[in-house]
Amino acid sequence: MTEEQPRESVIVEKELPLGPVHPALLEPFRVRFFVNDEIVEDCEVILSMPHRGIERILEGLPVERALLITERVCGICSNSHAWNSVRVIEKGLNIEVPPRALFIRVIAQELQRIASHLIFIGHAMEVVGHETFAMRAFLLREEYMDMLYFIGGNRVHPAVPVIGGVRPRCEISDSLKRVILETLERSERKLRNYVGRVVADPLVMGRLTGVGYLSKEDAIRLHAVGPTARASGVEWDWRMEMFEYKPFTYDYVILYEGDNKARVIARALEIFECIKIVRQALKDLPEGPVVNRDWSPQRMKFTDSYNEAPRGELYHSYSLDDYGKLRHYKIRTPTITSIHSVEFAAKGDHVTDAVVTIASCDPCLACCNRVEIIDEKSGRRRQFTSMIEVIKKYGWRR
């Protein structure tokens, strides 16, 4: 007689990889869902596809030319990158900016925020499967792209801020002011109609409600930022701290549901607040010059600056050496921190819902690539955000 061996229990983990080129993901990143009977048990987002080494090529450039690259970090929120990179040197060297320039920067930023949120709503509707809503969102977005084109001369990279003000070409004349106000009025009516329909649609809301829950504690622990965090009840917006936004009265959209529906609605409501800001800025636009050329590059200490990009907190910092060249440029984009919170939120849902959850943090991956750590036990990779901790633990990657 042979003794019966106790049978080893083997857990077979089934993996469902998506990407880097996949219809559900517009941008090249790779998602690995570890599924058990179509329920996501673990989820992992690999972001290393569009790594262009931006921080490295910025090293040693003259500070005026750096604006060309920092604007091209991201194609959706290009103005916030350009604005934040000039805010660093303005803060570090105490460059005075004319008030008219500050208002024009705010106008460009808010118009781009509306365009970005409309992309998100269109993309979310596309992932959900409602193509009509997606196409309508893209159609509404075109009007805002036109306004950016009138201001800056380029649809995607308007290049509005320069060091000490805005580009003289981006001066808002009286006729352009009238055009923008008329377009806003026409577009706001359409937007209210559109958002009302999206929120009232039972098919779309049935896919979004109660899926991908992220509690407030988890949002703070995983450092969600921007509308992703505000949809979970985190009451924080960098616009509260920025002196550029002090003259305007508007509301912050804070929702407490924390599911996909809240994340879509938070952005939809924020569009109307942006329209409010643009109206006020155009109404109170101060007279005067738009650019202050009275500065010269010189030695600057390490200075940092935060800005509220359409997706959340954006961090830029650098120092200048004696010749006015850039040293130690550091960029942290909002997606890198938000994506881990939705990675967490996607657990426990159906696979089809998990794709919507990943899309619901509005991932913009052109700009976020960081240190990559491979866990030896499970063989899974993680990107980290807090560089100091990682460097202390693992040393430099290159």
Binding site: I54, G60, G75, I119
Partner: protein, 149 residues
């Protein structure tokens, strides 16, 4: 017009591969060209995500390390005849990521001109190109597909 050309003319499928630029051209292609205002579907060019049914390959972005091999594989998977569009300065000459570098002189992360990796038929310059230009280039690629045996 033969049967093949008629069949091809009525459904030209375009596949977009975004290979690591700033996202601007990508958004312009998908959201502007395929959106209601600049409607490329009026020329019967449809967006697809399946390489095996694609006719036109649209490549945007400076080609990064991680995207080089997938791009070559996608190009091989597309059946003949095929046309390749390089959209944006990044795909044509690397834009700022290749030409405006600081101390290191050469950026090793990007393989910028797309021609070095796969043959390119049509180039659309601009950072990012206007949607009208992209539509014009895509329509120009059609006769090449028609003429193929």
């Amino acid at each position: 017009m033969g049967l093949k050309a008629t069949a091809r003319k009525n459904a030209i499928h375009a596949l977009l591969v975004y290979s690591g630029g700033c996202n601007g051209c990508d958004i312009e292609v998908v959201n502007a060209v395929f959106s209601p205002r600049y409607d490329i579907e009026q020329y019967r060019i449809l967006l697809t995500w399946n390489p095996r049914e694609a006719d036109v390959l649209i490549v945007t972005g400076a080609i990064t390390w991680a995207m080089k091999e997938p791009l070559q594989r996608i190009y091989e998977l597309i059946p003949e005849p095929k046309a390749v569009l390089a959209v944006g300065s990044c795909a044509i000459n690397g834009c700022v990521f290749r030409n405006l570098v600081g101390d290191i002189k050469h950026n090793p992360e990007v393989f910028a001109p797309l021609e070095k990796i796969i043959p390119v038929d049509i180039k659309v310059p601009g950072c990012p190109p206007r949607p009208e230009d992209i539509i014009m280039a895509a329509v120009k690629g059609v006769p090449k597909l028609m003429a193929a045996p």
